[in-house]
């Protein structure tokens, strides 16, 4: 066979293989979304977003308490986790060979592989066991602990992509080292850092295990982080484990709401970044 024809065939084969891999990778995602929509959308109505659960046996009710709980706990986790994670990421990217950065990088890699339930147990011993009651704070702390290593690593990787020449340009204009890091390097990587943070937020929004040991869950509307709190993944867990057919439908609907919440969060964070920092950010 002609050499060129052979090459073209090999090229086509390789491209085909990769397209196939992409399809395989996307397939579960599409299936999950489709199932959620099919099984969940019928139970969705305005009351579902606004009401708290109906007593067992009665129909109706909603997951408003869990939406509030998830938003509050994830919000608090962001307040703790994002500054620490982003700060640590900046440090270990800017001083890559320092001993502290090497150790931090290693530990965060290990933490990234830690099962979230272990983090839940850890937060339980650290906070719940001492306070002698479950609380939203403990849940936030557990989620923050999960976020920090993720955010740190993505921030670091993003900053490492900034060309050295850009850094030099700023320094040569008289920027002090810290301002170069913040004003030029971090500014340039901001979209990447936002993406990394959003991934972490999305990831922890769906965490169930750490919340079982910390926030516990609740059937009532509450905005006190010092009390046990409901959360969407916990609600899914409870309803899916329940004996009633009605509960299973609610579990599907709640899972759909969880995905919607994450979607809205991501979208608004992206729009906000673009609004505040303009096209070049």
């Amino acid at each position: 066979m002609n050499r060129r024809v052979l090459r073209r065939w090999i090229s086509n084969f390789m491209v085909g293989t990769m397209i196939f891999a992409v399809l395989i990778a996307v397939l579960p995602l599409v299936l999950i979304l489709a199932t959620l929509l099919v099984k969940g959308v019928s139970s969705l109505n305005l009351a579902f977003f606004l009401k708290t659960p109906a007593p067992a046996g009665e129909s109706g009710g909603g997951v408003a308490h869990a939406i509030i709980g998830t938003l509050m706990m994830v919000g608090a986790a962001c307040l703790i986790g994002l500054p620490i994670g982003i700060g640590a990421g900046i440090f270990s990217a800017e001083y890559p060979s320092s001993r502290l950065a090497t150790i931090t990088r290693f530990i965060s890699d290990v933490m990234n592989g830690t099962p979230s339930i272990v983090v839940g147990v850890f937060a339980w011993t650290l906070i719940v066991a001492r306070q002698k009651h479950f609380s939203g704070y403990a849940g936030s702390a557990a989620l923050a602990m999960l976020m920090i290593p993720m955010v740190m690593r993505t921030t670091e990787e993003m900053i490492k992509l900034v060309p050295h020449s850009l850094r030099e340009a700023a320094l040569a204009l008289g920027y002090p080292r810290w301002r170069t890091s913040l004003a030029v390097v971090v500014r340039t990587t901001l979209p990447g850092i936002v993406t990394g943070s959003l991934l972490a937020v999305a990831r922890v929004s769906g965490e169930t295990a750490p919340l079982l040991f910390t926030a516990l869950g609740s059937q009532f509307m509450g905005t006190n982080l010092n009390q046990p709190m409901g959360a969407l993944p916990l609600t899914v867990y409870t309803y899916a484990n329940g004996p009633y057919e009605d509960w299973h439908r609610l579990a599907w609907a709640t899972a759909l709401v969880l995905i919607l919440v994450v979607f809205v969060l991501s979208l608004s964070a992206r729009i906000a970044t673009r609004r505040i920092f303009g096209r070049y950010g």
């Binding site: 060979s97 060309p163 020449s165 850009l166 340009a169 320094l171 040569a172 204009l173 008289g174 070049y280």
Partner: protein, 285 residues
């Protein structure tokens, strides 16, 4: 078919023949007095860890003139340039010895304020490196940082710098566009405008044309020629014709040593060192 003969040959930009720098005659040679030296280098050496890069350099860079540094790759030209604004500080293991004085003050003194030094000594790099911001912001970055002018005067300053960098007419209608949308040559002129925004006295240029096409190169060279009315320029270049075209003085570096320093005309027509002549005529390097 003899296709090899039809490959278009890139015509080099029109260059005055060396060794007769055409523009030298236009700039009257200033009398060499102490006050005319913007940069004085005294027995300056530089190490990266155990490796010696520069050894015992001593020469004076005249004020408001273009000084070219030439020499084969790895001879320490860029390292020397980056010593003047202490950009080498970033590399671990940098050790300076001897003196480099800018306007009579040592740049290595412990009291040296790096921010102030780098405001006075601007730099243009080999590859254009504009910030991923608007054209306006790129030029305004330095002056805002160093609080050189009140905010309302910024547009004026930016315009002046862009005009000085011969870029104003090309960008005046799109100052808010991203600098990354400019061509390579425009980006490099923007980087020059950015350096001018800091209102420096000295401009260091590290092979500013090596990533540019011939036409852009010509524009930047014309610009350098204009800028020397107001700035002291030190330019590192690999391009012998360029050194001959734009510079008033030339220093020839070889393996970390300053082999020869003098008027460009003298270096290119009557080099004192055999090694200089060998390099200029292209026998090595």
């Amino acid at each position: 078919m003899t296709s090899t003969l039809e490959i278009p040959v890139m015509t080099p930009p029109p260059t005055p023949p060396i060794p007769v720098p055409s523009r030298l005659g236009q700039s009257p040679v200033k009398p060499r007095t102490e006050a005319n030296y913007a940069i004085v280098v005294k027995d300056f050496s530089f190490h990266f860890g155990a490796r010696q890069i520069l050894d015992g350099l001593s020469f004076e860079v005249p004020r408001r003139a273009v000084t070219a540094i030439i020499g084969p790759s790895g001879c320490g030209k860029s390292t020397f340039l980056r010593s003047i604004n202490r950009l080498n500080d970033l590399t671990p293991g940098s050790v300076y010895a001897g003196e480099v004085l800018v306007d009579g003050t040592s740049v290595f003194a412990p009291a040296t304020d790096l921010v102030a030094l780098r405001q006075r000594v601007g730099m243009v790099f080999q590859r254009p490196n504009p910030f991923p911001k608007s054209i306006f912001d790129n030029v305004a970055y330095g002056p805002v940082l160093n609080a050189l002018v009140p905010k309302r005067d910024l547009p004026d300053l930016v315009e002046r710098c862009l005009r000085a960098a011969a870029l104003w007419d090309e960008v005046k209608d799109r100052l808010e566009d991203s600098a990354l949308g400019l061509s390579g040559g425009q980006q490099q002129r923007l980087c020059i405008a950015r350096a001018l925004g800091n209102q420096p006295e000295v401009l260091l240029m590290d092979e500013p044309c090596s990533a540019l096409d011939p036409i852009a190169t010509q524009k930047v060279e014309e610009l350098i020629f204009e800028l020397k009315q107001n700035y002291t320029i030190v330019i590192v270049t690999h391009n012998m014709q360029q050194a001959a075209r734009v510079s008033d003085c030339t220093g020839f570096f070889d393996r970390g040593i300053l082999m020869e320093f003098g008027d460009t005309q003298q270096i290119f027509t009557a080099p004192k060192q055999e090694r200089t002549e060998a390099y200029i005529t292209g026998r090595f390097g």
